[in-house]
């Protein structure tokens, strides 16, 4: 025990002496928090419409006004034919074509039935999807408004009134969705990357040889490597929570203790991954690349930017093997929804299993190699 204390002392000295590294650890989150949520925003604005109004009636104008008033759309050009409008799409000057047929108003009121044509450029899938969705919503709303004009004779039938309330993130603010995920990534980076690099550094510089001829036991050496980064990751997580509050006013709804407990269990898995990678790498460069490979997959398949539910089935199954998925889920649940411990039991169990399996592999591998 005594020896462990001395090695830890040495580790902390080294970690905190590495000034650029410490700066990066604490500055990177600030930059990530400031830039990513603002840049990676899926709210679509300024969708350009090429308009073909063959009717030029009051009704068509009313609808057009309603569309432009929504703030999402901009009439970029008014065309006379579909062919011309299509040209605009081909030149990327317009994102969608809205065409009113001739006699739009007339037949709408006479036959209570009319069609408009919407053609969407789907090269940018998200923009096309959301744009179409917004537009259909607006037209539906318009449809409801004119019902009274259309069928003044018919009785006002009740029907079901649908109103959507968005819970936990009432304004569908993408930033609130992103911040908990970013916290998870930060913790994973510090815990995984730095641990792996630190151990491999000892190998690369040969210092591990000098350590191995001393009475230092392997478990003491491993613990001395894991504990500093476990603490550092907790600090970074705290730093992230504070930044989330200061910049985006996000206050965790759930219990902070539960949040920290979960993170600390998750860190066991991440530190184990760092250890595992350090056993299979000889140089820091190798460790860096292997870790990078894992991180990219973990982040992309972890539901940070895109929800896992919208992935193909095989990818969803694959995501079950991704520890980052569980931690992003759990942090979102506790931070945004205020979930208690019993609500994140599945995630906690999964992460705990990961911790056991990864550490088991790491220790087996460590025994073989060093």
């Amino acid at each position: 025990m005594n020896i462990l204390f001395y090695i830890l002392q040495k580790e902390f000295k080294q970690v905190f002496r590495n000034k650029p590294m410490i700066a990066i650890i604490f500055v990177v989150p600030i930059i990530q928090f400031l830039i990513l949520p603002l840049a990676a925003d899926f709210e679509i604005k300024n969708i350009n419409i090429a308009l073909i109004d063959n009717d030029k009636s009051t009704t068509s104008r009313l609808l057009i006004n309603k569309i432009t008033a929504s703030g999402y759309f901009r009439i970029s050009s008014i065309e006379n034919s579909f062919k011309q409008a299509l040209k605009k799409i081909e030149l990327d000057k317009a994102d969608l074509i809205l065409e009113f047929p001739a006699n739009f108003e007339k037949s709408l009121y006479r036959e209570s039935n009319q069609k408009v044509l919407i053609s969407i450029n789907s090269i940018n899938g998200i923009k096309a999807n959301l744009g179409g969705f917004y537009l259909i919503n607006i037209i539906n709303e318009f449809n409801n408004e004119i019902q009274l004009d259309l069928k003044p004779t018919s009785q006002n039938f009740g029907g079901i009134d649908i109103r959507t309330l968005d819970w936990f993130n009432p304004n569908l603010n993408y930033k609130i969705f992103l911040i908990p995920g970013l916290l998870a990534i930060l913790v994973t980076m510090v815990g995984g990357f730095l641990t792996a690099l630190n151990i491999v550094r000892e190998k690369e510089l040969g210092t591990i040889e000098q350590i191995n001829v001393t009475p230092i036991k392997k478990w003491q050496f491993i613990l001395s490597k894991l504990i500093p980064f476990w603490i550092l990751a907790n600090l970074v997580f705290t730093n992230g929570l504070i930044l989330g509050y200061l910049i985006y006013d996000i206050v965790p709804k759930g219990n902070l203790l539960i949040l920290y407990c979960f993170i600390d269990i998750y860190l066991l898995a991440v530190l184990g991954l760092g250890l595992l990678i350090s056993t299979i790498s000889e140089t820091q460069q190798q460790a860096m690349f292997v870790m990078f490979f894992f991180m990219i997959i973990f982040i992309l398949l972890g539901g940070l930017f895109t929800p896992i539910d919208s992935m193909p089935t095989w990818a969803q199954y694959f995501a079950h093997l991704n520890p980052v998925k569980y931690v992003i889920e759990a942090i979102r649940l506790v931070m945004l929804k205020g979930s208690g411990f019993e609500d994140i039991i599945p995630q906690t169990t999964a992460v705990f299993l990961f911790a056991i399996i990864i550490n088991f592999l790491a220790i087996i591998n460590y025994r073989k190699t060093i």
Binding site: I3, Y6, N18, Q210, V213
Partner: protein, 307 residues
Amino acid sequence: MKEAIKVENVSMKYEKSKVIALDNISFKINENDIFGLIGPDGAGKTTLFRILTTLILPTQGSVEIYGFKTTKDYKQIRQFIGYVPERFSLYQDLTVYENLNFFASVYKTTIKENYAVIKDIFIHLEPFKNRKAGKLSGGMKQKLALCCALINKPKILFLDEPTTGVDPVSRIEFWETIKKLKENGITIIVSTPYMDEAKLCDRIALMFNSKILNISTPDDIISNFESNIFKIKSDNNSYLKKILNDFDKLFTAYYFGDSVHLAISKELAINEEQIISMINEKNIKIFEFSLIAPTIEDCFIKYLTNG
């Protein structure tokens, strides 16, 4: 004399590369000797060191250090050995003092307690006490490494190629330090590719190609040498070397500095005049021709060509 290390039938084969680094080696090292492992790069010196210092286990054979087996008693062994690897392996981002203090505490001791052992070396380092180890000069780095390896007052000190890449003056200094350590009762095992350092050891093992060719005192190796060595200087050394080697199977000629050494088995009945006239026939001008005492390097080369 008490033996410090006993190596029996040790072989080492690296699994991944299938390289045989040590091939059935057996020898003993006496207590309080300076034992030199002499051999070119790739002879297996470092592998042998790593086995002796309990860093790796041999594929075959056993090693006993003061009666402790490296396979199961490595914990006890690590308490009383000191190891200076070939490459500087201390923490470059810690200061001289911090490094020394760290290794002292790892052995549950203090610098104060064992100051007597390192004193002679540490006084040179004292002015740089608070300098980071990475910022030291090569010679100072080596002194620090030596201090860190001695801080636990080891019975055996392993030095893997300590003089490789060190300037001649520092090399002489270094060997004086080693002699002093021997006086303190420490057994020293040192490896070196420099043959001229062999005579500074009490006993030496000549290593080549994963095998030990000969183990003896440097004087014995030379006096048991069964060839006469002629030093020849000429105007065309490369041609000279070729004709001498072609002349007789028992002739071994090789470059030695600016001259050619010719080793001839003592049994061969041939005199100097015969050799000189043979060389003259080939139109080679001789500047110098003399019978000299063999050096360790001559012995080493002889072993290589015979084996």
